[in-house]
Structure formats: structure tokens, C-alpha cells
């Protein structure tokens, strides 16, 4: 998971909260947390909770709930949610934002007419924690007080809660003593310190960590922990010790420099990492957790339920338009499968005049089709998905629309519910075998990927990790089995692979290969883009093939490794060749369809290159030969005529 699932769920889950007139004390404020003995401060913003764009409300109504995860309730000493508001209205309207915590109203903030910015602090208390979360309810409401005509659309109002709204939690460091608590409370940024880096288990663990901890967004770093700001827990440190025997993975939490550190020890610590972020993490709620791998059945058929994609399919009241958003990634699909259709079961209530709604279905913003929902009963809708529409990150959007009833200056517009029922599925079919894109490889990696760090590689393990992390995080799904191999020769034939090497591990010839002398990367206008040292500094990622099996080849560069951030992640989506550098992906292109670059090997004397290089000379030579031939023919004709004339 890239973000805590419940956070995303909260973004999509408006529910009704009765407007309350009870306001919190004017001017009530929460004092800024002070570092205290035994307490650690954990700060994050709404982005970390899944609200990348914050929240927004319009037309004098809107509800949302923010779930702040706190799996260990006892760990919370105090906390604050600082809501950053940006609001406006074009008419004189009485508006307010009511905030509740754990169902308890804690604040009602009046919003003045016109535009403005406000900061609303919301205190968080240990008693507010329930079920592993603090639920912060937001209810935006208002009314025209001096007018007979009631139509919210005329108010021109909005309220935006910025993504930078911050949450500050004061945690009892001593309470963060289990791997569950660590996993649930840890900062989004993770640091992995590895002892025993020369083992395959270390490689597997590093790769696993990259996949799990959003390395492609720069959330994972390697190496020993750095000093934190006083009392601020900004980085979850995992100390990894690879052993040659014993349990696969054993986890304990202790404190270093006043901060919790997860000690992960074992012969295959990657399984511990996986368990830590899986839905089974709560099982490890003890001082020490031992994890072993048990093979389980893998089930899939030709339908993938939307309910299994963690999408919010709860009923919505639809006044005019409501969007159901179902995001999924290529790695959510079974290996070898592609989405060929969408089968939806949708129910939409009729309004009092007996009118239903309309469902419009979009995949990645392409309209698949729409159908009227005029019966008021659940209806089965099927749509075909054209080829080429899917990528790495996909969004299925079902837009339910109905003509608002009410309004007209007499009645308030009324919404009636609609719901995508659980039987809705993505229809799967066999994927086209010729697809050569990073996102499809990510899907293939879902059933397990062999990982090889070539012993002959010019970089050592620590130097490789920053290169490996971003690529692995981008193309290896969380659930994928990591199968480390000592060398390219040890690769098994049927499983896809991820090889970090200076030399091509495939048996074909990719567009860029490093055993043919100098390399020049040129654009389609034949302009030189990279060559020599410029290219050596970059990492090169390519899809290669061994036998019938595809895999990924990463040739790390000797320049600065990628320095990724959530704002500048490394996303390997379409294409089968990518150049990566300090700023992430510099160039990605497909080599088999409309390639953006051409690669020339000046030292290589292939026929095609010879032909391209010496084409004018070759053509000129042919022309000279043709000319000579013509002259010879003319000479013979002339002689023959002269001979006839003489006779």
C-alpha cells in the first residue's frame, strides 16, 4: 500500500452530521506541543492520510471524516489537528465548519462573508481514540438567512481544507514497544540500516523494503539513523540484522536516542517487513514477533470484484452529480490478465417524480459508456474496455448524475441515494503477450520476482541501494514474493527477474547494451542527447527477455543516485526503456513503437550502421558503377554502328 488505506477511505466517505449550534469557546486554542521527557512528537499532514489535495466543500453543505490511525491508543499523550482553511462566498451567507472528534463536537467555526483564510486548531485526546483511529468529523453547512429564495448554488461558496493541515501527536515513547505499534505509528519516512549486507537475504529485504515503504517516492533511505530534531519522530528506523540461521524474521522494538527503533533479525528478514505492513500486522502485538512463510493458495478467475480493491462503494446521496472513484494498479490484476470490461451492479433510487439517474463510467478519464438507471432497482451494466487504456495506476470513475429536484427558489435541492453494489467486478481476459511496458512487468512481478545483484557489478551494495530502491519500489508490488538469486546464471526460467548488473542479463539485444563500445543516444531528429560520461552517470532500466521470460535490467549509473520525493516520485509506467538520474526518471520510451530515441554505437560496425554512415558513399559508388556500365554500353553501340557504316 502506498498510503494507509483507511485514509483514502475517509476521503471518500462523507456521512451526515447534524449541524450543531454549540460552538467551542471563542478563541480557544491548543498550545503547541513541548518536548517532554518520555514523549516523542509525531507530525504529519493530510497528505500522509491520503488527502493529497486536501478537502473541499461547496454549496453550503458537505461532510467528511478524517481517520488518524493510532493502533496503540495508550501511546497518545496529546495531539493537535491544525486545519488550514481557505474559504469564500459571493453572497451574504451564514456559514460554519463544525468539527467533531470521536463523534464529540469540539469546534464550530463561523466563516465570514467574502474570501479569507483561517487556521482552526482541534485538540486530540487519548479518549478520542476508538478502534485504532481518531475520527475527526468535518461538517460544512450554512443558509441564506435573509432571503426567501433558497438555492445553495447561488451562494457561490466554497471551503477548502488544505492538504498542509497538520496533525501533531505527542506519543509516549515507552508505549511504542511492539512491532504493531511501531508499524502503526511510524512516520511515513523509513530508514533501513542493514547489517550483513553481503547476503542474499539482505538484498531481498532491501528490495522488499523498497516495495513496501514507497521508495519510489523517496520515503525509504538506507544507512544508520541520523540525529532527529529534539523529540521529533520523523523517520522510522528499522535495524536489520541478517543471520545465517534461526527464524526467518524476529522483530523487537527498543529505543535509541529516545526514538523507537524496530530491530529485525533473522535469516530472511524480508518476511517480517512484509508482515509488518500486512493486514496480519496486529498479530504481532507482543514484545517479540517471529514470522515464517507459509505457502497459501492463490485464487483468481476472470473477474476481479471492485470490493477487493478497497474502493468506497457505500451509498451516496446524489443531488446532481456524485463520483464513485475506484483506483487500482496493474499489480492488482492477476498475472497474465488484462481488464477487458467492467461489469457493474448499480442501484439508484427514484425521485418522487419517478425519475432515476444516469451512470457514466470512465476508465482513466476515457468514457466507456453510460446507461440510464430508470428502474429504481439494481441494474447490471456492462462496458467493454478498449486495449491500451490501462497503465500502472488506474482510476475507474462511475459518475452518477440526476436532475436536481427542488431548488427554484422554493425548495432545497434534494438528493436520493445511489450505490455501486458489491457484485460489481472488473472483467479480465488474457493479456496480449506482446505488451512490453513497465506497468505490465509490475503485474508479472506480482507472483514473485527473482532478484539478482550481479557480483561483478562495479558498485558495492550500499552504493546500489539508492538505485535499486526507486526502481524496485516502482515496479515490484507489495505482495510480490522476493526470490533473491546469487547470479544471473542461477535465474530460473519461469519466474520474471530483476537484475542489477553492468551487463545485459537477457538473451536478446536491448536497445542499450554496454558491450558494444561507445554509445550515443539520439533523438528522432538525430540530435545527440547523451553519450560517454553523460550516459555513464545515468541509470538505465530496460525490459529484457531470457527465453520466454521477461525481466527488468537495471544498470546503475556512476553519477548521483535518484533523490526522490513524494512530489517527484519515480514512476515507471509505459515504455520499456528508461534513463534515470538524480531527479528520477529522465526519459522513458517504448522501443517497439514510436521510440523517442535512437541508440547508435559508433564503434560497432553493424551492416545497418555502416549503411547509415556511408550511405551517400555507397549510393555514389553504385551511381559510378551504373555510369560506367552505361558508358560501356554506349561505347559498344557506337562501335557496332561504326562497324556497320564501314562495311
Amino acid at each position: 500500500m502506498k498510503y494507509p488505506a483507511i485514509g483514502l477511505l475517509a476521503a471518500l466517505l462523507p456521512f451526515h452530521v447534524h449541524a450543531q449550534t454549540t460552538a467551542t469557546d471563542e478563541g480557544a486554542s491548543v498550545t503547541a506541543p513541548q518536548a517532554q521527557e518520555g514523549l516523542i512528537s509525531r507530525e504529519f499532514d493530510l497528505t500522509e492520510l491520503g488527502f493529497q489535495n486536501g478537502l473541499s466543500f461547496r454549496q453550503l453543505s458537505g461532510n467528511a471524516t478524517i481517520f488518524i490511525p493510532l493502533p496503540e491508543a495508550g501511546a497518545l499523550n496529546s495531539g493537535t489537528l491544525e486545519l488550514e482553511l481557505n474559504h469564500a462566498s459571493t453572497a451574504e451567507v451564514d456559514r460554519y465548519l463544525q468539527v467533531s472528534v470521536g463523534g464529540r463536537p469540539v469546534s464550530s467555526q463561523a466563516l465570514p462573508d467574502g474570501a479569507g483564510r483561517l487556521s482552526v486548531p482541534v485538540p486530540l485526546r487519548p479518549e478520542d481514540v476508538s478502534g485504532g483511529f481518531i475520527a475527526v468529523g468535518l461538517s460544512y453547512s450554512g443558509a441564506f438567512s435573509d432571503r426567501v429564495c433558497v438555492d445553495e448554488r447561488a451562494s457561490g461558496d466554497f471551503l477548502e481544507i488544505a492538504a498542509s493541515s497538520s496533525v501533531t501527536l505527542q506519543l509516549d515513547q515507552a508505549a511504542v514497544d511492539t512491532s504493531t505499534a511501531f508499524a502503526g505509528l511510524r512516520p511515513a519516512d523509513t530508514r533501513l540500516a542493514i547489517n550483513g549486507s553481503d547476503s542474499l537475504a539482505a538484498l531481498a529485504a532491501a528490495t522488499r523494503a523498497a516495495a513496501l515503504f514507497d521508495a519510489e517516492a523517496g520515503r525509504l533511505r538506507f544507512g544508520p539513523a541520523e540525529a532527529n530534531a529534539a523529540g521529533t519522530w520523523s523517520e522510522g528506523v528499522i535495524q536489520l540484522d541478517v543471520t545465517s540461521s534461526g527464524a526467518a524474521s524476529e522483530m523487537t522494538v527498543d529505543s535509541q536516542s529516545g526514538m523507537p527503533v524496530l530491530n529485525l533479525r533473522g535469516s530472511d528478514p524480508q518476511v517480517g517487513l512484509w508482515q509488518m505492513v500486512s493486514e496480519w500486522s496486529a498479530l504481532s502485538n507482543s514484545d517479540a514477533t517471529v514470522v515464517e512463510v507459509v505457502e497459501g493458495p492463490v485464487l483468481f478467475d476472470n473477474r476481479l470484484p471492485l470490493a477487493g480493491l478497497n474502493a468506497d462503494l457505500n451509498p451516496r446521496a446524489v443531488v446532481s452529480t456524485e463520483d464513485f472513484l475506484i483506483p487500482f494498479q496493474s499489480s492488482d490484476l492477476p498475472v497474465g490478465k488484462a481488464v477487458s470490461g467492467v461489469s457493474l451492479q448499480i442501484a439508484a433510487a427514484l425521485d418522487p417524480e419517478g425519475r432515476g439517474a444516469t451512470a457514466s463510467v470512465f476508465l482513466n478519464d476515457s468514457l466507456l459508456g453510460n446507461r440510464p438507471l430508470g428502474s429504481g432497482q439494481p441494474e447490471q451494466l456492462s462496458f467493454s474496455v478498449p486495449k491500451g487504456l490501462l497503465g500502472r495506476d488506474n482510476l475507474l470513475r462511475v459518475s452518477i448524475q440526476r436532475q436536481p429536484t427542488g431548488g427554484e427558489c422554493r425548495f432545497k435541492p434534494q438528493g436520493y441515494p445511489a450505490q455501486i453494489l458489491p457484485g460489481s467486478t472488473l472483467v479480465l481476459s488474457d493479456a496480449e503477450p506482446q505488451d512490453r511496458d513497465f506497468f505490465s512487468l509490475r503485474q508479472e512481478f506480482g507472483d514473485g520476482v527473482q532478484v539478482v545483484l550481479d557480483p561483478e557489478l562495479s558498485l558495492d551494495f550500499e552504493q546500489v541501494l539508492p538505485w535499486l530502491a526507486g526502481v524496485a519500489g516502482s515496479v515490484i508490488p507489495d505482495r510480490a514474493s522476493i526470490l533473491p538469486r546469487p547470479s544471473v546464471d542461477a535465474l530460473e526460467t519461469n519466474d520474471p527477474f530483476f537484475v542489477i548488473s553492468d551487463q545485459n542479463p537477457g538473451d536478446g539485444e536491448p536497445l542499450i547494451t554496454f558491450d558494444q563500445g561507445r554509445i550515443e543516444v539520439r533523438d528522432t531528429q538525430d540530435n545527440l542527447i547523451y553519450s560517454g560520461e553523460d550516459l555513464s552517470r545515468l541509470g538505465v532500466v530496460q525490459i529484457v527477455t531470457r527465453g520466454e521470460t521477461r525481466g527488468l535490467w537495471l544498470r546503475p549509473g556512476n553519477g548521483p543516485a535518484p533523490e526522490l520525493t513524494p512530489q517527484m516520485p519515480m514512476v515507471l509506467d509505459r515504455g520499456d526503456l528508461a534513463l534515470i538520474g538524480q531527479q528520477g526518471v529522465i526519459l522513458a520510451t517504448a522501443t517497439d513503437r514510436s521510440p523517442l530515441v535512437d541508440v547508435v554505437y559508433p564503434d560497432r560496425t553493424s551492416f545497418a550502421q555502416m549503411l547509415a554512415k556511408y550511405r551517400p558513399w555507397i549510393v555514389g559508388g553504385i551511381w559510378v558503377l551504373v555510369t560506367l556500365l552505361v558508358l560501356i554500353v554506349f561505347q559498344r553501340v557506337y562501335r557496332a554502328r561504326r562497324g556497320r557504316d564501314e562495311t
Binding site: D592, R593, S594, P595, R615, P616, V619, G620, I622, W623, V626, T627, V630, V633, F634, V637
Partner: protein
């Protein structure tokens, strides 16, 4: 018409001397009256008595000596002092001069008219003797061997060199080709993609034009023939034998003795007086095998073997040119040895000439195959011929476009044929060339609904040899007639030029270009659009797609409907496989191109008699011949 007195007297003599029975004499006299020919000619067209016996009785009747010129050879130098055309016309030949200066002249047609002619040409001091017409003709062939052989090869090249393929390409053509190649190379050197796009545009447009032109031909030619066919058939049925002209039939053969009985029997079965047929079996003098086979058939006296002296090039047109020197008909037709013309074909041709414009110099009959269903190749060949002769050639005729004549069954007016110096011996599809040449000279070629059935090739290597010769000949024809483009345009008109380019040039070029476009298609299938898109801008791509789908679909469709005219609907489904046939055409095209460069005048011999149907045809023909003599 009543029998002339001489015939009556010779008939009585033959009866008295026991050479003929009463029934035979009655029959011969009836035929002579019906056909309006002498009794001797009738008897020469029957095998009731041998030619030697007949000429012996003729000599006896006239009180002249019968000489055997095979045993007692004539003086060649003496013969060469006289005009061979006149001698051939009157069938006289001087055979020697006595010490007293008396000239001995042999003739196969003794009689008052010949005597007057001999006195006029050879003088009064002449001794007349009788010889068979075979002997007279043979003496002429032997005496004028060098002269006629030279004329057969070089007459056209010397008298009308622009129309001869002796020079494969002329210096101006070389210069034009050189400039075009230079422009292409210049483009490839400095703007390869643009050059290939331009080239592609030209070729794609050419393909489109080719498809459309063929569709137009079929559309125009479809209904045009129905009306004229009925009129020709009606007049043919009304023609009286006595009014029919002498018809020369040339049967060029080379090392194919086994199929000769088919044609012999087919000619006997013609609805045309056999006595009015001047049949020349044209053989290479070194082809003893076929010469012996022809002799053993004991053919009627109207069959004559012409032995063509060996010389380069050894081609069918050269042999025909040589035999033409001894032809005596007003019209001439060429049949292959295994041909089976429809019985009323010659009469239909006479009727067609009567109904056609005065400048009509040639009538092309349709060709098709009697072994159509023998294997896949024969089926495809039949569909090919049905499309060509039944649908396209009538379209060409309707448009006034030069018609490339088919290999056999083209009937000529003898005077025009001689005027044009007959066939080009350096062109390996001399018939196609002659068709274009006739149009250029202001003559018209007609097409009629009468079919000659042939043996379709049953063997792919044999087919490739034959087709490569045809395509090489088309290349020669295109090169010859494109030497003077303005003259071509002035003589055949705009439609004629387009027709010439698409029908002759298109046939050649499509065979050569098909593999290129098939390869591009395969590359597109395997590697996708990206690989070819730089060379196929969208308009060109769409046009190519139209060619691929509509063009090929149209040609397959036309191939499938071609046999419908003959009600051979069972062959229609085989039209789907015509793509395989096109592949063979491509193979043949490249072989043709290779030969055009390295061996332009080589005559790629087609082996006949390979079909099991042909063996049956030979057996049937032999049985019919035996039955007729009993």
C-alpha cells in the same frame, strides 16, 4: 458449282485404272462441286490413294513424266534464278537444263493455266514434268534456304528496325533509364525517406490504376460481345463452302511428336473444306523425331511439313516467318499442336472479317483448356485465361486499346501480315507484339466468341518456364513500343497509351513489385505500423490499404466470376487461392527479368503432352482418324 471438265476426266481415269471406287469418286465429285475446288484437291484432302499414286495418274492423264525430286534433286542455282513467290504460287520449279538448252520445269498442277504460266515465265523451249506438291515445295525450301532463313530472322529488323526487339533497349532508352536511376540514387543519398515516399506514392498510384483499369475492362467487355457474337454466328452458319477462301494453318512444333494427332484430327473436324486448308506443320529441320512422327501419321495431302533451317534465334516466330514464305491462303491462323479449335471457328472468323471494319487485320479467338480440372494449377490457369480472354480482351477491343494477341488462334489477313513483315523473331511473345504493332500501323484487332481448347500446364516448373517467357516477351514488347512514346500516342491515342501501360507494363511491373509490397505487408503484420509509418504517410497508407483490401479483393472477385461465362461455376471457389498463383507469377517475373538481361532471345520451351487428358485426347484423335480411313 459444276465439276470442271479436267476433274471429270481425271476422275474417270482414276476409276478406270482402279485407283478409286465408284463410291469414292462420287463422293469426291460431290465434294469438289460443293467446295468449288478441283477433284485433285479433294483427293489430296482424302487418304483414298497416296499422293504418289495420285500424281502418277495425273502425269498419266497429261501424258507427262512423273519425277521424284527427292531422288533426282533439282539444280538449286537454277531455281534461285526465279522468283520464289511466283513459283510457290503456281507450284512450278525449274529442275534442270539439257545440253540443248531446253529447260525442264516440274509442276504439281499440270493444266492449261500452268502451261501458260510456264511459257510466260520460263519461255517456250521447256519440258514439263509432273512432281508432287511436296517435292516442288521442298525444292523451293532447299534452294531458298539461306535467303528465306535470313528474311525470317532479319526482315523486320532491317525494314522496320524501330519495331524490332533485336535491340533490347535503344541508346535513348538507356539514357532515360540511366537518368531515372541517377535521380533515384541522388534521392536515396540525400533524402532517403522523402525519396522512398515519392517512389511509394508512384507505385501505389500505379497499383490503383492497374486495379481500376482491369475492373473497367471487365465492366466494358462483359456485355459488349453478346450482340456481335450472335451476329457472327448467324453469318457463319450461312456461309457456303464454295465461297470460302483458302486458309493457311501454321502449326509450329518442336520436339512434341506425341500431340500431333490431336491437331490433325481437330483440323479434320473443322467445319471448313479440308481441301481449302493449306496446313503447314512447321518443324525445325533438326527435329527428326517430330518429322518422322508426322510422316508416320500418313496425313492427307493438304498437310505439308515445312523444315526450318537452324539459325539464331531459334524461336517460334522465326519458324512461322519461314513457313509464311510458302503459305498460299488468303487468311492465316496459328495453332499449337495440341490445340482443339471449335469446329466453326474458321467460318466465324470469315464472318467476323466480313462484318468488321475494313482495317480489321486480325481476329483473336478465345483460348481455354480441356484439362481445366486436372489439378490446382490447371484450375488456376483456366481461371486466368477465362479472365484474360473472356472478360478483358473484349474490354480492350471496346476501348480501342492495343490488344496483345494470345499465343494461338489469332487469324490474320495474309496481305496485312506480309505487309507488316509478320512476326518479330527476337520477341518471345511475338503475338502480343504483333497485336500492338497492328494497332500502331492503323489496323484493328477483333475478338470473337470462339474458343480453342489447349492443354493447360500441369507442372509448376513447366508453367514457370512458360510464364517467364511470356513475361519476358511483355518486357520486350513494352521496351520496343515505348521507344517512340509520341509516335505511340499519335498512333494508338490516349486510351491506347494508358491501356498499353497498364495492360502490358502493369502485368510486368506488378509481378516484379508484388514481393516488395508483400514484404512490407509482412513487416507491418510482424512489427506493426511504426516500422513502415515513416515511408507511408497517412494518405499513402490509406491508398495502400485500399489496394490491399479493395484491389486484391476485386481481382480475387473477378477471378472467381471469370468462369461464370462458361458456366464453369465449380471453378469459382478456387479463385480464392489465386494469391498462390500470383506468387508463381512473381517467380516467373524475376526469372523473366533475369533472362531479359542475360539471355533475351532464348525461347523457354513449354513441354506439351504432360497431361493425362492429352494422352486421352491423342488416343481419341488416333481412333477417329483410323475410323475415318476405314
Amino acid at each position: 458449282m459444276a465439276l470442271d471438265a479436267e476433274s471429270e476426266a481425271i476422275g474417270s481415269l482414276l476409276l478406270d485404272r482402279g485407283a478409286l471406287t465408284v463410291e469414292q469418286l462420287d463422293a469426291a465429285e460431290d465434294l469438289a462441286e460443293d467446295w468449288n475446288v478441283s477433284l485433285v484437291k479433294v483427293l489430296l484432302s482424302r487418304r483414298w490413294l497416296t499422293a504418289h499414286d495420285l500424281y502418277r495418274e495425273i502425269a498419266f492423264y497429261h501424258g507427262l513424266t512423273l519425277v521424284d525430286l527427292i531422288e533426282d534433286r533439282a539444280d538449286d542455282d537454277l531455281i534461285r534464278q526465279y522468283d520464289p513467290v511466283v513459283m510457290n504460287q503456281y507450284m512450278t520449279v525449274p529442275i534442270g537444263r539439257a545440253e540443248d538448252g531446253t529447260l525442264t520445269v516440274a509442276t504439281s498442277r499440270p493444266g492449261p493455266r500452268t502451261v501458260l504460266h510456264i511459257r510466260e515465265v520460263y519461255g517456250t523451249g521447256v519440258t514439263i514434268v509432273v512432281a508432287s506438291h511436296f517435292d516442288v515445295s521442298w525444292q523451293l525450301q532447299r534452294a531458298f534456304r539461306e535467303k528465306h532463313s535470313h528474311e525470317a530472322v532479319f526482315a523486320l529488323a532491317e525494314l522496320d528496325p524501330d519495331m524490332s526487339a533485336q535491340n533490347v533497349v535503344t541508346p535513348p532508352q538507356i539514357l532515360v533509364i540511366y537518368l531515372l536511376v541517377s535521380a533515384l540514387l541522388l534521392g536515396l543519398a540525400f533524402a532517403p525517406v522523402a525519396t522512398l515516399i515519392v517512389l511509394n506514392v508512384f507505385l501505389t498510384i500505379f497499383y490503383t490504376g492497374n486495379f481500376l483499369f482491369k475492373a473497367l475492362l471487365v465492366w466494358l467487355g462483359g456485355a459488349a460481345q453478346e450482340t456481335s457474337s450472335r451476329a457472327i454466328a448467324a453469318e457463319a452458319s450461312l456461309l457456303r463452302d464454295e465461297d470460302l477462301p483458302i486458309y493457311t494453318v501454321l502449326v509450329p512444333m518442336f520436339r512434341e511428336p506425341e500431340v500431333l494427332p490431336i491437331l490433325a484430327q481437330a483440323l479434320r473436324n473443322l467445319d471448313y473444306p479440308l481441301a481449302k486448308l493449306d496446313i503447314k506443320i512447321v518443324l525445325e529441320e533438326g527435329d527428326h523425331e517430330t518429322i518422322d512422327a508426322a510422316r508416320k501419321l500418313d496425313l492427307e495431302g493438304v498437310f505439308e511439313i515445312i523444315r526450318v533451317p537452324a539459325s539464331h534465334p531459334q524461336t517460334k516466330p522465326k519458324a512461322c516467318n519461314f513457313a509464311l514464305r510458302y503459305a498460299q491462303g488468303d487468311f492465316l491462323v496459328i495453332f499449337d499442336a495440341e490445340d482443339k479449335p471449335e469446329p466453326d471457328q474458321l467460318k466465324k472468323v470469315i464472318a467476323a472479317f466480313n462484318q468488321s471494319a475494313p482495317n480489321t487485320a486480325c481476329i483473336q479467338c478465345r483460348l481455354n483448356y480441356y484439362n481445366a480440372r486436372e489439378n490446382w494449377l490447371t484450375r488456376m490457369f483456366t481461371l486466368d485465361y477465362s479472365l484474360w480472354f473472356d472478360l478483358m480482351l473484349p474490354g480492350l477491343e471496346r476501348l480501342g486499346v492495343p490488344i496483345p494477341l494470345g499465343g494461338t488462334s489469332n487469324h490474320f489477313r495474309m496481305d496485312v501480315l506480309r505487309e507488316l513483315n509478320a512476326w518479330d523473331p527476337f520477341n518471345v511473345t511475338e503475338d502480343a507484339d504483333l497485336g500492338i504493332r497492328l494497332t500502331q500501323k492503323g489496323y484493328r484487332v477483333g475478338v470473337i466468341d470462339s474458343t480453342t481448347f489447349e492443354e493447360a500446364n500441369v507442372s509448376i516448373p513447366n508453367w514457370v518456364r512458360q510464364r517467364s517467357r511470356w513475361i519476358k516477351g511483355y518486357m520486350q514488347t513494352f521496351l520496343v513500343h515505348s521507344r517512340r512514346p509520341i509516335h505511340l500516342w499519335q498512333s494508338v491515342g490516349t486510351a491506347g497509351v494508358f491501356g498499353f501501360i497498364f495492360f502490358i507494363g502493369g502485368t510486368v511491373l506488378s509481378g516484379l513489385l508484388n514481393p516488395v509490397f508483400w514484404s512490407i505487408f509482412a513487416i507491418w503484420l510482424i512489427f506493426g505500423t511504426e516500422v513502415i509509418s515513416p515511408y507511408f504517410p497517412l494518405p499513402v497508407l490509406y491508398l495502400s490499404l485500399v489496394n490491399l483490401l479493395a484491389g486484391n479483393g476485386l481481382l480475387i472477385y473477378l477471378t472467381m466470376v471469370a468462369p461464370f461465362r462458361r458456366r464453369w461455376t465449380d471453378l469459382a471457389p478456387w479463385g480464392i487461392t489465386v494469391v498462390g498463383y500470383w506468387v508463381l507469377m512473381t517467380v516467373a517475373s524475376y526469372k523473366a527479368l533475369s533472362q531479359l538481361i542475360f539471355n533475351p532471345f532464348y525461347w523457354e520451351k513449354t513441354q506439351h503432352g504432360l497431361s493425362k487428358h492429352t494422352a486421352n485426347e491423342v488416343a481419341e484423335a488416333s481412333a477417329e482418324a483410323t475410323e475415318a480411313t476405314q
